[in-house]
Amino acid sequence: MSAAAVIGLGYRVGGATLLDGVDLSVAGGEFLSVIGPNGAGKTTLVQLLSGELVPTSGRVEIGGRDIAKMNLAELALLRAVLPQHHVLRFAFRCLDVVMMGRYPHGGSEADARAAADRVMTETDTAPLADRLYPTLSGGEQARVSFARVLAQETPLVLLDEPTGRLDLRHQELVMGTLRGLADRGVAVVAVLHDINLAARFVDRLVILDGGLVRAVGTPEAVLRPDVLASVYGIDVQVITHPEAGCPLILPIGGGRIG
């Protein structure tokens, strides 16, 4: 059974169609990445999957159940969400922020503390534990928020650009952590902009463009020059990564208009 599935999913707002007839599913243990140009509908897809937006057509199922029939507390035990932007401006310690991820489980303070310590070690955020969140850099805030999402320990994890503001080492660390989650049976869905980064870690890629799914499959199957040229409007060469063996995209033509 799939961990999450969207069936005929569509979202319209103010006369614009942001997502149209999307069918997708992700299984437990699978790392799926959503890529595509700006405005393709990637964030909208994550927001619909998380239940934050209500679809104007179709439905979202998590664990085989329509999320429209679930309450927020149930959903919080099934899926965790890392949004693109972080708005916390109050001076919580990072440890407190990560412990907030344990709220849906309702356990004791000690349980929350233990889980937070575990994920902060795993995500290399333990040295930040006593720092005040608003005083961190953007990238550090993103990493602490990532740790908070992991602390929620849900069978489905949704992330909107988890590597967007991270340095090279922490991009690798986050992707490696997500790969590890998937290997332990968690379903991971991440919106990513760095196609080459995605190609090295994920099981399947979904290319969205103009609210439609343009391609789904393994990186090898999806990352073809013709597909990328039509979606991104640039010419690319696809070679094989000398170490990882996965596809590696090299842009060779400048951006075209029209």
Partner: protein, 344 residues
């Protein structure tokens, strides 16, 4: 990063409140020693003591100072806890019931209610009108500041300013035009005074404050999560709309009843929670009760100053809270800018 232990914080605040209460009961035109204070209180409980006191001292303490101090504790607690709650729910450390128009709305509601329903509702006309007026102002400001699912900080403060100006002017105009003895002076609603305190006034105010002080901490964890962002809180299972409605209703009821009783006293709801956050962090499980105790201590202490600094005259208490609160507010703005670039 330095933070004081929770036990020390609460110990200090409770001792501060006890100290302020002792000062307030003993100080004034009629001096009453601490021993006499105890003797009079015990006498009213039917316990005789060796300490002597005059019947004037007894009357001053039991009928004037004690209800006044108790009302100060109730109102200060209400302003402190409500300030902390508003700041949490609006995710804005500057959201004080004064600043976002709720106090002035409550003043207008109180005046209208006393004039229109005074005969029917009796002494509950004030608190009822205060709560309705406060809610009306709060909801108006909130809806004006909402945009695409976010609460805009600048719009919130500006809308609050406008609503406060309009409702404050309305309350002042009505109290002048109606010339009704039940309303008190024009200055009363804009600056506040605890001089009106009686046992009856305490009993109609206290229930609304007590409900807020007891129930708001139930939402403490949810308020913490709301500070992460409304989306993030919802992702963690918090029903954001329900929490917001409950918290705003409880905090507004406490502020509305307080304004109806003693007028609109500013800055307590801003200063106290900010001070607590500075030494103990923003977590609401500590912040809400600590702000209630701290607000009570601050208001009782300020009231002692208000009624003794210029004997035999009384300085309006709202004037004193503004004198302290204004500069601290400016420091708060400066600090916020230094730390994370201000509030845009």
């Amino acid at each position: 990063m330095w933070r004081i232990p929770v036990v020390v914080l609460f110990g200090g605040l409770v001792m501060g409140l006890i100290g302020a209460t002792g000062l307030a009961l003993g100080m004034g035109a009629v001096e009453i020693s601490p021993a006499q204070v105890f003797a009079i209180l015990l006498d009213h409980l039917g316990v005789d003591t060796a300490t002597g006191f005059s019947s004037t001292q007894d009357a001053v303490l039991w009928s004037i100072r004690l209800p006044r101090v108790m009302l100060g504790i109730a109102v200060g607690g209400a302003l402190g806890v409500a300030g902390a709650a508003f700041q949490g729910i609006f995710r804005n450390p500057l959201a004080d019931s004064h600043l976002i128009g709720i106090s002035s709305g409550a003043a207008l509601g109180t005046v209208v209610s006393i004039l229109v329903f005074g005969g029917v509702l009796g002494s509950f006309a004030g608190p009822a009108g205060g709560i309705v007026g406060g809610l009306g102002a709060g909801v108006t400001v909130y809806l004006l500041a909402r945009h695409e699912g976010r609460t805009e900080v600048v719009t919130l403060v500006l809308a609050g300013l406008a609503v406060a100006a309009i409702t404050g002017a309305g309350a002042s105009f009505l109290s002048v035009a109606a010339d009704d003895a039940r309303l008190g002076s024009v200055l009363f609603y804009s600056l506040g005074s605890l001089a009106v305190a009686t046992w009856d006034l305490l009993w109609v105010t206290l229930p609304f404050v007590a409900v807020a002080v007891v129930l708001l901490p139930v939402a403490a964890r949810r308020l913490d999560l709301l500070l992460l962002g409304e989306r993030e809180a919802a992702h963690l299972g918090v029903d954001v709309e329900r929490t917001r409605m409950a918290v705003v209703a409880l905090a507004t009821a406490a502020v509305g009843a307080s304004v109806a009783a003693v007028g609109a006293i500013g800055f307590v709801g801003l200063l106290v929670p900010h001070g607590v956050r500075l030494v103990a962090g923003p977590g609401h499980r500590v912040l809400l009760p600590a702000s209630a105790i701290g607000g009570a201590a601050l208001l009782v202490l300020t009231d002692v100053v208000a009624r003794t600094v210029a004997l035999p005259f009384e300085v309006p208490i709202g004037l004193l809270t503004a004198i302290i609160g204004g500069p601290v507010f400016l420091l708060l703005l400066g600090r916020t800018r230094r730390e994370h670039g201000g509030w845009g």
